[in-house]
């Protein structure tokens, strides 16, 4: 098991946003957590990268307890995040942003690996290559989202957390970005945890899914089965 979360609780000023959430991810899986606005999806991801400290529960990664670790330690263990609203470094160039994703890589082998993944990412995101010398602030929302994904992937992470990647994107871009994530999972074996309001799009590319409702996991299972589940269709897919 790559990621094992058990009984995770998070409270803001005494108000609990997550009440003992448990989930797990195997290596190579693409798992999504779907739920409405305010269900606690982002809170869940932020606690997994270490931006939120849990009030209870245990998070273990690759068999190691990381519940209390700070985010830069988690990043070094191989957990990366594509945060909500991309959060690229706007006053740095596209190339520099990508290099930040490879922060701390030194030595010949690592440098070679970074150069290889940079080449691969540039072929996946040709627009980033064309704009590599431009400031990230000059990119459109969709391009920033692509940059954010590329920045998170350049270090060849073991687990990629993706937070509301569809938000603020044009519908056509949403499909492209989801197809890309599916491709990264299929071809590179990248393990992905996707948190989404766009349930249909994310279920289509996922192996398994969890449904989060006001801080509790209310349903879990195969993504295909969820797509056909009456309750899901009614509540989240609007079909």
């Amino acid at each position: 098991m790559l990621l094992d979360v058990s009984g995770l609780s998070i409270a803001y000023k005494g108000l609990e946003a997550l009440h003992g959430v448990s989930l797990h991810i195997e290596e190579g899986e693409l798992v999504s957590v779907i739920g409405a606005n305010g269900a606690g999806k982002t809170t869940l991801l932020q606690s997994l990268i270490g931006w939120q400290q849990p009030s209870g529960g245990i998070v273990s990664f690759n068999g190691r307890d990381i519940t209390g670790e700070r985010s830069h330690i988690r990043a070094r263990l191989g957990i990366r995040i594509v945060p909500e609203k991309a959060r690229v470094f706007t006053r740095l160039t596209v190339h520099e942003n990508l290099m930040m994703g490879a922060y701390g890589m030194s030595g010949r082998r690592e440098k070679m690996a970074v150069r290889d993944s940079l080449r691969r990412l540039y072929s996946l995101f040709p627009v980033l290559e064309r704009r590599s010398g431009q400031l990230a602030s000059t990119l459109s929302g969709g391009e920033q989202q692509q940059l954010s994904i590329a920045r998170a992937c350049i270090s060849a992470p073991k687990l990629l957390l993706v937070d509301e990647v569809s938000m603020g994107l044009m519908p056509i871009l949403v499909d492209q970005v989801f197809e890309l994530l599916a491709q990264l999972n299929r071809e590179e074996g990248l393990t992905i945890l996707l948190v989404e309001q766009n349930a249909l799009a994310s279920l289509k590319i996922s192996h398994r899914a969890y449904v989060l409702e006001t801080g509790d996991i209310v349903l879990e299972g195969e993504a295909d089965r969820m797509l056909n589940d009456e309750r899901i269709r009614e509540a989240y897919l609007g079909i």
Binding site: S71, H72, P83, F89, R91, H95, G133, S155
Partner: protein, 308 residues
Amino acid sequence: MDYFATVATLIVIQAIAACGLNVIVGYAGQISLGHAAFFGIGAYASAMLTTKAGLTFWQALPAALLITMLLGFLLGLPSLRVREDFLAITTIGINFIVEAVFIYTPFFGGALGIGGIPRVVVMGGRLGNNQFLALCLVFLVLSLALCRQFARAWAGLACFAVREDETAASSMGISPVRAKLSAFVLGTGMAGLAGTLYAHYARFISAGDFGFPVSISIMSMVVLGGMGTLFGPLLGAMIIGILPEIFRPLIDYRMFIYSVLLLLMIRFQPGGLLGDSSLVVGLLKSLKKLVKPKNIANPREIGGDGDV
């Protein structure tokens, strides 16, 4: 030419201190309004070591640098955990405390300061004014080279990322505390270097030389020239150093002129004279285009291997 050498030496020394502040404020985005404290610590350390312990300038210099950087580290550790306005207030506090320690401790010469600081001796000969100016210029070039190197190294990139978005940076394996501390220690080290040079230039120092107004003046240089640019602090130091000489009759209104200048800069050119969207840089670029009309926007090498 003594007048020229005197003014120029002071400008160069202040430029070194401003370069150091630029690493902290411009590169790492941490407001420090107490930079003069570290300027003073360097000056006092070197003054004490040469007058009381009998060291030469060359022996005292590395020791003074180490002392300043160590104190920078110790004072930075708690300060850098607070952000923005609180950091500004904390660093102002550090400035006043350090100044007070110099004034009220008899060990540091109290209100009388320290006099009789020896001149710098190179190969058996005392340096004259022009030679000392040359020495200061050498140190300025070294400082600029160091800043440039830092900005290209991982440590520098980490600082830029922390300046832009501390939380996002942390999810890339960057420890924000470490990045800020590295900038703070390097920046205070350069203030210490400037302080040491100042002590051996003035040859008499007292706590008043390192008060809060000096911090403001160094900050003005950085803001005026362009925070986060390599040569901005140098340009700022030159302008702020030369202006009072040109406008001697207006000396009483100096602080007023600084403030107006600073406010105008922040309002109309927040990036400074050499910063982003700067009028001066824009003008130079369009002049260049006139000269070389076929110049296409800089073609960047694919994968740009320099930074990996």
